[in-house]
């Protein structure tokens, strides 16, 4: 798999097979799409706060166009922001470095993966500009709304949506196979599976879950395309089909997909927490087993999205039970993180602040998820803004807080410099405040009965009292977008003005800190060896409060500090 350092600009920066360049390509594409998804959020929130008014930068949104705005906001944020940044971006950057490999197992497949993803990005953006506009069937693309042209008035927009999502899945299947192979087969000597950093474990499980879950949805999407384009009736009751089948196939993938996004985010949190609390992670093996069990359970919870769909009532109870059950491994996970903080020597950096905020906010998302998981409660709140607020309290911390934490932390390995901490704190404070301002009012709006996909809530008398909350939430989203300006400036300016980072600016222990910042082509000056577990912080005795995984052992210290030997 070894490959020489490329000479030409095109081979080095465009069609590169270097995992670090591909990671940057995924991240920058994802961050660009986040701006697009954020603009759509601003558009839909403005429409809800001031229905029918002209929106600055966009104009008046017609009701059918509102459906497209909502659909593409969700689609882009999940498939073109969360997936490329968390799974592919950080996965590409960190998995080879953390296991001590010189690149991914299949570098050319890796490049293919990015360019298939890039093609899918072009297709989804192009769908805005075709006659009839972009897809309007919601990010879940339920038939009959998505099944026929006359249901939503959208023809090519929906076809392109299906094509783009299919291409995106192909890209991440290729990428996932690469991550699994690299993480398992390319570990340096001395690194057992129980010496893997948490992030690698979480990426491995996320990739396996994606691999196992995506097949039914690809089959479902092909059947949807056949229904739309070739007159089949898989989802058409008039032809003997059933729209409920698509819901099953979508959520059989869709719910594990939540964990595909969540697990890398938790991995980022684990790495940042250890480095800045100067403590060995609490319950390493317990966390790994909880991740594995969550991966297994993720395949038996999907129908909780369908409690009001006409689902067989006999299915509601088992899916309620499994849904509530799956909160246990994640509660274990968060408990371990909190226990890691106990009596720690915490270093408050921007990366640490985003991780701590993520724990707090994700717990709100988790607790409201338990409410949704109960079939009886869900019948009342289904498809309301309570659910919208719930999943934003899970997904925004996962996708954005973890991403920001990871970018501030591993920026040295991306660009060799440190980001500006002052600007980082402004970014953190604005993001945290305006995120809560955006979504707390939505819990109240949901309990008032505000359905998630109506363009003008004022036409319903029972929602008119909530208009103040609509405006408050919209001010929140405008502030949230404004709070990203310092980050965007910091991200690009620090590439040239940032303080040079050195190899290990955070005094962290895992293998990516053994090499230069940014790592050279081939990653390491010389082959590495893992001498201990990944998180040896604050060992007993005098001396530095960390012992890197790659540092040859001091004989007297070694037996007491290897996680692989002490973890129970």
């Amino acid at each position: 798999m070894s490959h020489g350092e490329p000479e030409s600009f095109v081979r080095k920066y465009i069609f590169s097979v270097d995992h670090k360049v591909i990671a940057k390509q995924y991240m920058i594409t994802g961050l660009f799409m986040a701006l697009l998804g954020g603009f759509l959020a601003y558009a839909l929130r403005s429409q809800l706060a001031w229905p029918g008014d002209s929106i600055v930068g966009l104009g008046v949104i017609a009701p059918h166009a509102y459906n497209s705005v909502v659909t593409l906001h969700g689609t882009i944020m999940v498939f073109w922001v969360a997936m490329p940044i968390l799974v592919a971006g950080f996965g590409n950057l960190l998995v080879p470095l953390m296991v001590g490999a010189e690149d991914m197992a299949f570098p050319r497949l890796n490049m293919l993966s990015y360019w298939v993803f890039f093609l899918s990005t072009i297709v989804i953006i192009a769908s805005f500009f075709v006659p009839g506009g972009a897809a309007g069937g919601g990010w879940t693309a339920y038939p009959p709304l998505s099944g026929t042209v006359h249901a939503s008035g959208v023809n090519w927009g929906m076809n392109l949506w299906i094509l783009a999502v299919a291409l995106e899945f192909v890209a991440f299947l290729i990428g996932g196979i690469n991550i699994i192979t690299t993480g398992i087969n390319m570990r340096v000597p001395g690194m057992s599976m129980w010496d893997l950093p948490l992030f690698v474990w979480e990426e491995l499980i996320a990739s396996i879950v994606f691999l196992l879950a995506v097949g039914p949805l690809i089959a479902g999407a092909v059947m949807l395309l056949l229904d739309r384009s070739f007159g089949t009736g898989f989802y058409a009751p008039s032809a003997g089909g059933d729209p409920l089948l698509f819901q099953h196939l979508f959520w059989f993938f869709g719910h594990p997909e939540v964990y595909v996004l969540l697990l890398p985010a938790l991995g980022i949190m684990g790495e940042v927490l250890c480095a800045f609390s100067r403590k060995t992670i609490f319950g390493y093996r317990t966390i790994v087993w909880s991740v594995i069990s969550a991966g297994l359970l993720s395949f038996v919870v999907w129908a909780h999205h369908q409690f009001v769909s006409g689902l067989d009532p006999r299915l509601a109870f088992p899916f309620s039970v499994t849904t509530i059950l799956i909160s246990v491994p994640f509660a274990v996970h968060l408990f371990a993180f909190i226990a890691t903080l106990y009596k720690a020597s915490i270093r408050f950096t921007v990366a640490m602040a985003f991780t701590l905020a993520m724990i707090a906010l994700f717990m709100i998302g988790g607790v409201t998820g338990v409410i949704n998981g109960s079939a009886a409660a869900d019948i009342f709140i289904h498809d309301t803004y309570f659910v919208v607020a719930h999943f934003h309290y899970t997904l925004v911390p996962i996708v954005f807080f973890a991403t920001f934490s990871g970018i501030y932390f591993w920026y040295p390995k991306l660009f060799g410099r440190l980001m500006n901490e002052g600007l980082g704190w402004v970014h953190f404070a604005g993001t945290f405040f305006f995120f809560n301002l955006t979504f707390i009012p939505q819990f109240a709006l949901g309990l008032m009965g505000h359905h998630r996909r109506i363009a003008n809530p004022q036409i319903f008398e029972f929602l008119r009292d909530g208009q103040g909350l609509q405006v408050l939430s919209t001010i929140g989203v405008i502030g949230l977008l404004a709070a990203q300006v310092p980050f965007v400036y910091n991200f690009f300016a620090s590439m040239v003005r940032g303080k040079p980072a050195g190899r290990n600016p955070w005094e962290a222990t895992t293998l990516e800190w053994a090499t230069a910042s940014p790592p050279p082509h081939g990653n390491f000056d010389e082959p590495q060896t893992a001498y201990r577990g990944p998180y040896v912080y604050s060992p007993p005795g005098e001396g530095p409060d960390w012992i890197p995984q790659f540092e040859p052992p001091a004989e007297a210290l070694e037996p007491d500090t290897a996680i692989s030997e002490t973890a129970s």
Binding site: I184, L212, D242, H248, F252, F299, W302, L315
Partner: protein, 98 residues
């Protein structure tokens, strides 16, 4: 490499068995579409899938982890099937007696 050579299958023989199994399935379907025949056709299809997985997808020479992954995939497929049956197969009115 030498190990792979030792495990190389007789692809033509396996292909012949698959064609014969297909012919038997088609012949059974031509005779009847009753539940016993349908069950027999599914059983033949299972044997065919096993042969394809073993010989053409080379599971007979893959490491244990790959086999576990395939078993995991089949388990996931089974879970999906069980979840779909009450809604998609046994929906009241669509299949009598359910």
């Amino acid at each position: 490499m030498s190990e792979t050579t030792e495990h190389r299958s007789n692809y033509f023989m396996v292909f012949g068995i698959l064609v014969a199994a297909l012919a038997i399935s088609l012949a059974l379907a031509a005779v009847s579409t009753g539940p016993i025949v349908v069950a027999a056709i599914f059983a033949i299809a299972t044997v065919k899938a096993y042969l394809v997985l073993t010989h053409f997808i080379h599971l007979n020479v893959e490491p244990r982890f790959i086999k576990v992954l395939v078993i995991g995939l089949l388990a996931v497929l089974t879970v999906l099937y069980i979840g779909l049956v009450p809604d998609i197969v046994w929906v009241f009115g669509r299949m009598e007696g359910a």
